[in-house]
């Protein structure tokens, strides 16, 4: 009865997941099938998607060893609006007047504060091993994660396409931008076991419920946050008033370790000599503090219910095979945080730049010859640094629910999920992943899928490769067919060399 309650509870959570999104770990198998995998990804990759799946067999041998055991990368975001790009920036149009307004609306919508971003994430699994037993499984996997993103608001885009046009910037227009980088390494130790076995339950037989957990130790590589907010006003001339350009700005940069120290040194020196060049200090940055900036812990949890529904007739599906296995899974991934606190500091600057032609005692030529340097030295790099406690970055935590149906060489899968934060490609938008795999000749998986929601517009995925019982070598990719609403996405994954025993 308890088992039934658990299943019903899991099912009840499904609708809630529809309104949220995902930032899942990509293997070549999951990416090829739409980016899900909660109910079918086995082996050491399961550590990062659903540790309970360490118990899933999937016609694979019990021991999997990955050498360069998987690389996944994806870029995308709302700023990568391929449709708008193709409509306006590839057709020879002159971006002015109404065309310009329409283009910016296509990219950013109507609101001047609307922000669009581009994100990129790369995960590399250098090594992984999983050992599946009859009632419990173990795994050890390492992963390096690089998340970065940048965003601008519509005002910044208007500055780029209008210039200093008093018609557009006659009243203050926010010109904002930002960016971040978060990278860290993980050492994940997975464990799963069968916790329940039910022989018959309503429509299913031979039901096994697996539970798994994968705690992980996190090592910070680098992190930077940059936020730049400003208002720009270009006053039109009026009579003897020649107008002015006013840029009211402030920005912050959070950095750590050597980079932070160099920024502090630069700031101190710049107070003494405004001609100090920030480039001279950044040149000294050599990543020598790699791996020492942060520590953290994370946890991935999952549960999978695997059942035999061969006795049920399912139209079309039965065409591919009468033996049918249904799995229903749920997982919480990337729960935890990493705290960047080594030599943490925040650079903060702000001020108002007014260009009104008041050149003071300078000559006209000298003033404008040195204006750019003056702005750079006296405003934009004239920041104060303040030591901070550091920044605790939440991992791109997600809730995932998935189901998969295997009928012969066909596997269909569906996943729902949502993110708890916007770290990396994580999105609060819910995502729905649909995927299919057909194993041609039994060892050539043809994979297709789609992802709806998440950090970009709906994406379509495909994958192919060799997947033997003892060896896997597969690739997958993902693209978007209409980026107009939520931007584009481009992803790729490579299984690496996976050897199974």
């Amino acid at each position: 009865m308890n088992k039934i309650k658990i299943l019903l509870t899991l099912c009840a959570l499904l609708p809630a997941g529809l309104s949220f999104g995902q930032s899942r770990h990509y293997s070549s198998a999951t990416l090829g099938m739409g980016g899900g995998g909660t109910a079918y990804q086995d082996g050491y990759h399961a550590n990062f998607i659903n540790p309970a799946n360490l118990m899933v067999k999937n016609n694979h041998s019990g021991i999997s060893v990955g050498l360069m055991g998987g690389v996944g990368a994806n870029v995308g975001g709302s700023l990568m609006n391929i449709r708008a790009y193709n409509d306006y920036l590839t057709t020879g149009k002159t971006i002015s007047g109404q065309t310009r307004a329409d283009m910016l609306s296509a990219f950013f919508g109507a609101g001047i504060h609307n922000t669009r971003s581009a994100v990129a994430a790369v995960s590399v699994v250098p090594f992984g091993i999983s050992v599946r037993g009859a009632s419990q499984s173990f795994s050890l996997a390492t992963r390096a994660v690089f998340n970065t993103g940048a965003g601008i608001n519509k005002g910044a885009a208007e500055l780029a396409f209008y210039g200093l046009d008093s018609d557009r910037f006659g009243s203050p227009v926010p010109v904002n931008m930002g960016g971040n980088l978060l990278s860290y390494g993980e050492i994940s130790l997975g464990y799963a076991r069968k916790i329940i076995h039910i022989d018959n339950l309503i429509f299913a037989k031979n039901i096994n419920i697996y539970a798994g957990a994968a705690p992980k130790y996190l090592i910070g590589i680098e992190a930077v946050d940059f936020k730049f907010n400003s208002n720009l006003t270009v006053s039109a001339p009026s009579g003897n008033d020649l107008g002015r350009v006013v840029h009211d700005l402030n920005y912050t940069v959070n950095s750590y370790g050597t980079l932070s120290r160099l920024m502090q040194d630069f700031s101190a020196m710049h107070k003494l000599n405004s001609d100090t060049d920030i480039g001279d200090y950044l040149d000294d940055y050599t990543l020598s503090d790699f791996g020492t900036l942060a520590r953290g812990f994370g946890l991935d949890l999952g549960i999978t219910a695997e059942m035999d529904i061969s006795h049920l007739y399912i139209p079309v599906i039965n065409f591919f095979g009468k033996n049918k296995t249904l799995r229903l899974s749920m997982s919480l991934t990337d729960m935890g945080y990493i705290n960047f606190n080594k030599n943490a500091s925040e650079m903060r600057a702000g001020g108002t730049v007014v260009i009104d032609g008041d050149i003071g005692d300078s000559s006209f030529e000298n003033y404008y010859d040195t204006l750019a340097d003056s702005l750079l030295n006296n405003v934009y790099t004239n920041f104060d640094t303040q030591k901070t406690e550091g920044t605790k970055y939440s991992l791109p935590g997600m809730y995932n629910f998935g189901g998969s149906l295997t009928a012969g060489r066909l596997m269909l899968a569906v996943d729902y999920g949502f993110g708890f934060n916007r770290t990396g490609t994580n999105s609060l938008r819910s995502t729905l992943n649909l995927g299919a795999q057909y194993r041609l000749f039994g060892f050539v998986p043809l994979r297709f899928g789609t992802r709806i929601g998440g950090y970009s517009s709906a994406a379509y995925t495909a994958g192919i490769g060799l997947d033997f019982n003892f060896l896997e070598l597969t690739v997958a990719a993902s693209v978007v067919n209409n980026s107009g609403r939520h931007g584009s996405s481009l992803a790729a994954a490579f299984s690496g060399v996976v050897i199974r025993f």
């Binding site: 590839t90 002159t94 200093l164 020649l242 032609g357 050149i359 000559s363 043809l446 379509y460 693209v479």
Partner: protein, 759 residues
Amino acid sequence: MLRIKKTAGICIAGVLMLSGCEIPGKPDFTASHKIEAPLLLNKEYQFLGSRNALIDSTKSDFESIFVVDQDNHIKLAVNEDFDFGNFDHALPLVQADPAAIVNEIGEINIGSFSSGVNNLGAAAYTDLSGMPAGTFLPAGTPVSGGQSPAPVNVDIGANTDFFVSAVLKGGGVSLSILNDSGLSLDRAEFTLKSGTQPMGTENLFNLAHGDDAEAVFQFSEGEVLEDLNVDVSIFWSAQTLHADAGALVIKSAQGEQLRAREVTAALEAQTFTTSGTSAVSDAEFEFGPEAEHFVQLKAGYMVIDPILNSIDLDMDTVKISFPGLRAAPYTAADSLVIEYAGNEKVVGNGYSQYKETDLSGYRIYARNNALTYNVYAVSENTQQAGSYNQIRSVKEDQFIQTSVQFGGLEIKEAAGYLKPKNIVLNDDEYEDGVVDVFNDYEADITELSGIKTLSEQLEGLDFADPELSFHYNSNLGYTATIYGVFLGISSGGREVYLSGSGKDGTYETLPGDPVAGLHARGAQIGHENIIKFEIPKAAAGGSESGILTFDESNSNVNEFLNNLPGKIRFVGKAVVNENGNSGMISDPINFDSEISLNVPLTLTAEHAVFKDTTDQDLGDFPSKEKGDANRITEGEIQIVYTNGIPLGFDIQLSFIDENNSTVTTIPAAADEPVNLRASDVSSVNSFAETPAAGEMIIALNNEQLEQLYKTRRIVLQAILKSGKPAGSQSLVPVKLRADDQVKLGVRAKITIETDINNK
């Protein structure tokens, strides 16, 4: 078969799904940016000042050419050294004639006749009294009175070793007598004889025993003296011998101013002198009778040929002195004396060495152009020579002789009467007395750098009351009348001669003035284009400073300076000491002069043109014509001004390509000029009064902007218009002040289009 269908179905479904995916195309669009920015906010530019002034008076071109008076009124005040050429030709040439010097020894003085031991000979008492020889009469022996029965001859010639013979000119011989006879004599008679020829008789009276006495014999010219002997007779009264009977002794013979025409003897030193003069040429310079007139030599030498000595006597000393040749400090004691003595003595019957004397720094004092010399010679004293070489034969007409010559005399300084001299002030290339103002070798060219810069940029201004002055400082101690050609040439090549014609006559050159040889391009320049002025003489040894001022009353200086002569060419002639007065001249003849332009910036400008050309390569200026991705499709500069300068400007910019063709002009010929209006001008003091405010817009259309990349130079041309008093239509001179200001505000409005990957 069934499996194939399954696979195909899966693949077709996958391909259909992926075929709808978006692929980003190649970028292809044109970005259009408009940039509006104020560039200059009401910046005030002072008309004249240092940094940020319209005219930066600290720039090297303009440094020190502007001065400001108490009212801040600006003047162009250019001071440049001006080369009036070279007055060195005014220095006279001086020459001195050679002088032949002959110095005869003249009459010969004879002194001592013997090296003497106080006894040339004696007459014994016994011989004098006629007693037999050998008679001894002791002291106390009574002697009766008596006289010599016959004169006793004493041959003194045997003992006068210094004398052989002489042909006398006068004087006498003194015999020194000692009475050692033992008697007191009433009288003793001495007859001096030359051989057998009596030369004279002398009596000595009352000659007591032991007395010394002198018997002097006088001779006439022509008498010959040789083989000397003396006849002696005595007369005495009765007495007792005062001592044993002895003799009358002739102790010595000595010439008493005894002078001979010729002589053979051992001679004492003979001194003889002579004097003469050397004529100094008076062709260009006269000393006159004044003792203080002189010529100081910068260079020159005097040569004394070897002195020929025809006398059989060495000349222990020969001095040739020139009282009129003096070294500093030029007193009589500083006269030049050339001496031959010691090792340089002139030996008898021989000659001396040649001698040359550097006369640099010497002064010649030569009254009436005669230079005096004196010769002083002293012969050896042969009496002090060895006995084998004591006797010489000398005649009074024997001499020493030489000659003196002067050469290379160059004047450093001269005081006296300079003969009037007409000189060319410039380097005369062909030495023909003709100098051409357009011959760069001959003409002295003065560039007025500040004016040159202005001249390159401005023309058509009409300055009021300009002045041109020459400040001079001269050490020429004679008046000089200068006939000068001053040709001012503007940067545009316009030539204007400075002329005194048609004015008050102060500086007017008249027909007949000595201006022949002043040419322009090979032709004689007319007197009306030549300025005449006089430079007063400087005080002796000093200098004379003065100012020659050319203004509207005495010259055409308005026309000359309104031409803004960046270059002045000068050729000229001078007549020095036209009146033949005494004065002083020194080498070098310093004639330092400075030209001063004093041009108050009080001017009228109706169509004056300011023009400035700057190299400006706009090759990087974007244009579709050269396939640039970027181009400026609209450009506009708005200038808001408040002009407190009493000058307005109609501005035109011309963009010139590498072939000197105009690419475009702003504004176009058909458009209204870009005008910056002048301020109103006070009718009281002509200074700027009420500033003019307005706006200028310099706009370029797309077509002009497309052509700008061809530009290599930009010519700014501004037509200057002086302001007028409020409500007035008449043009009046306006005065520019240093602190007149123009306030400018500038805004740029530019539209830039950028092609991104356009095909």
